[in-house]
Symmetry: none
Subunit: 207 residues, 4 copies
DNA sequence: AATGAATGAGACTTCATTCAT
DNA sequence: AATGAATGAAGTCTCATTCAT
């Protein structure tokens, strides 16, 4: 039972084990003793590094990878659909690395405020990312902001839904196709308006 | 201490207490003793009616209200936006009655298969409802099915999201407005296409 | 669910179920609810007939079949071995009918005095039976009483052992043969002494 | 409340308490809380060392003292009775140390396979011990093996019976005398055959 | 006579957390 | 710094028994 100087440090192994187990079993249903076991460390060490169990959750949230994507990397000027497609592909790539964590967040969101805040902030980042890409692809000023907001919110919802709640493969056999269809629907709607802007959109007063 | 002929029966009170507490604290974090306390029954009675704790969850899922809505009640022929608006309003009205339950479903979905199935099936019903209303409002045949599917899925997502995960009031101050904006976005997109159908939509090969 | 006037009365079915379950699972490990279930009667009825659980045990003990055997039926004058062999065969026949009960008795003997007394008395009856048969077969006066007592005790032990503790078939594959061998050993010893009585046996002063 | 460096370690005290209580009340009727109480340790510690209650039983069985006795220590060449008398005395001395445990074994034998196996194996050891002593006392070859087997089985039964099931003092007031009488009966039978071997013993094919 | 809802004590067990070493 | 023994609160669940009907 090697303890300390291993490849991933003991502390790191504890976090990895906790991430996996929390996502798999839920926070409450995961005993710290099980975490120690999976991490291959003595039970005492878990509480040595993270005094209370909830400190593990906090630490996990603070380690969340940054999902900000450089718009330039995915934008195809003039082609909103393709731009969004590339954005989603890139998000997929990155999110899959921390998929279990995303999932965990949704589950524990309302019992633990720290988690709720982290989740909310991630969602906001996501919406903004989509907005930025849409605007960059469509050309600044060519679209009503309200439309962009709606489109961004809807796509963010679809993406985030796929990466969190609906992660059970057997439940969403048509996952990718559905996403593609919805994405296209949104992009087409935006493209149509860029060509012939409508003023019938009720002004929501919200930026 | 007569327990039977009371306002709601003892069994019913237990279910109500469980529903509330599960949604509030989560399934794992709710002690059966607390359920008994809130229901005003002795601890033993909880297990008399529901031998294991998880049986409470199952019973709760089986009590889910039927959310099917008669399309005729909300459809305004020719006006997709208004039709959807009325549908959403009606759904809101009905769902709010079991909001905590909806919320509970999302939380426990992946630890408990029975819950997952119930959730999935509710979502499917919702999507179909939206589809039906869209078609009835637009007039049969005037829209590409793929568009209708996409629109239905996106709106269902938004509705269901609002009623379940994002139920924390403080987190979604702009809830209703956002929903209105997204609804309008979707309706407009569909209306535009009904007027000038596009064939650029990639055929997804589905349905 | 027929309740009352059935072939075996409800009360009888309860006793039968209890006998079976007590022997199978042990007294403490058998819930009265299970007894009701196996007996096919409502739970309340068990306590209606037998207020406390232990009353079931008492009733069972009082139902013990009488194992007294008419010596004349098995004795072959002059042949102790054959006489004992027939006695054992007859005991086997009778005891097998209440084997589970015998077994139960041994298990619960020291937690329940009523059972202990019943058990002790059955054992005494058994020893006496063997004594009587030996004396009848050997001819009165031809054997030292002390020898007869020893032989009777040893054989009773072997019989009772076989019918109670060692009832697990897989544990005693050689059961019958062993019994036959021991029986012959004892009979031969007695026969030898009847022929040439020894006085070296220490007088025990008991009966 | 230092628990460790005490006279017997906490773990040991738990085992001692369990042994006593199981034998006294029976396994099922002994609450672990009572064990903790008698052992003078907090309830949690019992389950720290023995996760499930039945692990206590297993541990107890594994601690059974070895009852093998060096034949040379008790054999009096040429005197089977005296040899057996000394063997029994020695067995008594050793078994009394774990009498409650022996008793416990018989009680729980058929609900717990581990116990059953331990019991069976102890019995086999006992029978062999008696056999060895008989042969050593009588002189090799002077007795038919079948006779030796029968005698050994009968004596082992008597010894084991006295040390387990029939341990209630009031139930066997004549215990020692009876044992002496039976022992003598068996020894005499063997001695008689050594002098004038009989071939009438049915060959059982076993041994 | 018969029933099954109701009761509450208490059993086993799990677990986060503390602490001496 | 690290460990694993120790602690006790609390949780789920079982069950004999009572009782109103």
């Amino acid at each position: 039972m090697a303890k300390k100087g291993d490849d991933p440090s003991a502390r790191e192994r504890i976090l990895l084990a906790a991430e996996r187990l929390f996502a798999e079993l839920g926070f409450d249903a995961t005993p710290t003793s099980r975490i120690a076991e999976v991490a291959g460390v003595p039970k005492g060490l878990v509480h040595y590094y993270f005094r209370r169990k909830r400190d593990l959750l906090t630490a996990l949230v603070e380690r969340l990878p940054d999902e900000r994507i450089e718009p330039a990397a995915v934008v195809v000027p003039g082609d909103i659909a393709e731009s969004l497609r590339r954005l989603v592909a890139e998000l997929d790539r990155r999110l899959s690395a921390s998929q279990v964590l995303s999932h965990l967040l949704w589950r524990e969101a309302d019992t633990h405020r720290a988690v709720r805040d982290a989740l909310r902030s991630r969602y906001d980042v996501l919406v903004n990312q989509v907005r930025t890409v849409i605007i960059a692809a469509a050309g600044a000023g060519s679209l009503a902001l309200a439309d962009v907001d709606s489109a961004a919110a809807l796509l963010a919802l679809a993406v985030s839904y796929r990466h969190s709640v609906a992660r059970h493969a057997e439940d969403t056999p048509d996952g990718p196709d559905e996403m593609e269809r919805e994405l296209t629907f949104i992009a087409d709607a935006l493209t149509a308006r860029a060509a012939a802007p409508r003023e019938s959109v009720p002004s929501s007063g919200l930026d």
